[in-house]
Symmetry: C2
Subunit: 334 residues, 2 copies
């Protein structure tokens, strides 16, 4: 038996949308775990908006993926061999393992997960990094109070879908911004948001005003650009804007449009604060406990959009995030 | 003796820069204080950047000045008659009294001041609202730590000049952005900033980089527009941006330029927070104590740019704020 490890490596830094040519995808020998390490066979790879930033040259929240290095990714699978005291053959694990069939890990940013509690893809979705991101961003930075109106963009996505539901669990009015009627229906009918606004319909400001009759207290920002600008103009006094992502700008090759409502920060005394989940690294257990409990109680619905195609499909599936082709947490099955 | 009260009333809402024609300036009978009121003869009127917002129709931090109402302003003078238990004839007072020669007050947002401690114009300057603004914005929102680099725009202005000095008092590196070599010299040589950058010199980003070799931890925002954008690109991880004003945009009739570095909020996990001094209303005494102490110790230098010309000069003197014609706190002597 000739086991091979198929690996996606970064070949060059993309300009605009990443393409197949920006990556080298090839078979390599399966790596062997050294002392204190274990080998994971990966079954699912997570596609996250932050990936575009990870392969950009500019300073970003984490060092960029080096040219020639395996593409960074959250992934989930099973331990196949272990020289690590805390990980045993057969353990299900999830964490930063890369876009590859096999990964060797020392356990850094990898945790054991329970497949009986939720299927594996969910541990790199709502019960993983995206869930923790929604939890800390909304509760710590957004600080919603019961009765507040909470708006979230990319509302049908991995993070946004949870933000609205957690807001509902906190007694807030949850309004999602999503692209197209299907996603808007999903957000209201399946996830239980109070309202959804289709930014593609062409009258976002009026629709937002109708969906938020008492203005907006918290805006959980995932997209940037014109949506950010429009929401700024509808914020209430002392509103909070956790900035989690600005996905509309990640592949941009043109300068952004002017932000006409930037003065709203001053006039309404807003707090706009960028964050990433790693800023709350020492409190991850708290998020996991809450997310797991709400999930078990049926108060946090999660949907994964699992794509087949294996390792080689990675570049194309990644781009679906930026074109809005997915409904729910985008995951690649290997 | 026919005492008259000369009053500036708002005639219409200006488009772009305010002009003489936007105000009605006329003599009226001197008002008489009723029960619980006192009469002030005003000697100095403060010109503040916020005034342009006060006469705009849009929602702003305080209700706009009504058409036909006296122009809102901080002012200082002496009590001439009193039916108020806390104010006596001869008391020096400062507060929201309007652009007029005489004002009747119930004492709301008016306080007694000590002319022996500092001349009257200073009590509507560095020892008044602008001083309190610098104090709370820098310390509460900027949260500077010793060794931090603090940048402030409009650095020679009423608020900016104090922000840099308070930053120095806290053990920070203070860098001012100002327009032209004279203001830059003033900021460094008279106020003791560590460095100044002339935004009119045409290479702000490079000059800022040179003045801030360790990046920028706190940016006290007074101007908005391209300066805001440029500073955003030089902020350090977890930087703080108190947004006190965006004076470059107050008279704008065109949409603002794009903010190219808006993603810095996310990448550097910045906190951008708008505020006005009234948000700290219940802690004004704390600011006054600190400002008075630093001032008495010579650790807070203040300069007033007192203009003659009386009430009728108000519209022209106001506009000097927006064209950068003043050096120091702009005050109109009546």
């Amino acid at each position: 038996m000739s086991r091979q490890n198929r690996v996606v490596r970064l070949k060059r830094r993309p300009v605009g949308m990443a393409s197949r040519d920006d990556f080298e995808i090839a078979d390599e020998p399966v790596p062997q775990p050294g002392e204190g390490e274990f080998l994971v066979r990966i079954d699912y790879v997570s596609l996250d908006p932050a990936m575009r930033g990870w392969i950009s040259p500019g300073r970003s929240y984490v060092p960029p993926v080096e040219i020639g290095a395996p593409m960074r990714a959250f992934a989930a699978g099973y331990v196949e061999a272990s020289n690590h005291p805390d990980f045993t053959v057969g353990d299900a694990v999830a964490g930063l393992l890369g876009v590859q069939r096999y990964a060797v890990s020392k356990g850094t940013r990898v945790a054991k997960v329970d497949p009986a509690q939720a299927p594996l893809p969910r541990w790199i979705g709502g019960l993983g990094m995206p869930g923790q991101t929604a939890y800390f961003g909304l509760l710590e930075i957004g600080r919603p109070k019961p009765g507040d109106t909470v708006v979230v963009s990319a509302a049908s996505g991995a993070v946004g879908s949870l933000v609205g539901q957690i807001a509902r669990n906190m007694g807030c009015r949850a309004v999602g911004i999503a692209g197209g009627p299907q996603k808007c229906r999903y957000v209201v009918e399946e996830l239980g948001f109070d309202a959804a606004v289709d930014y593609k319909a062409g009258h976002l400001d009026a629709d937002l005003a109708a969906a938020c009759p008492d203005g907006i207290d918290v805006y959980f920002e995932n997209v940037g650009g014109e949506i950010f600008d429009t929401v700024l103009g509808r914020m209430n006094l002392f509103g909070r804007i956790p900035v989690c992502g600005m996905i509309s700008m990640y592949n941009a090759t043109e300068p952004p449009a002017p932000i006409r409502n930037i003065r709203s920060i001053l006039v309404n005394r807003l707090t706009v604060r960028g964050f990433i989940v790693f800023d709350f690294q020492d409190r991850i257990a708290e998020a996991n406990e809450a997310l797991g409990r709400w999930h078990a109680e049926g108060r946090l619905k999660m949907r994964e959009d699992v794509r087949q195609g294996g390792i080689d499909a990675f570049p194309d599936v990644l781009n679906e995030l930026y074109t809005g082709g997915n409904l729910g947490k985008l995951v690649l099955a290997l």
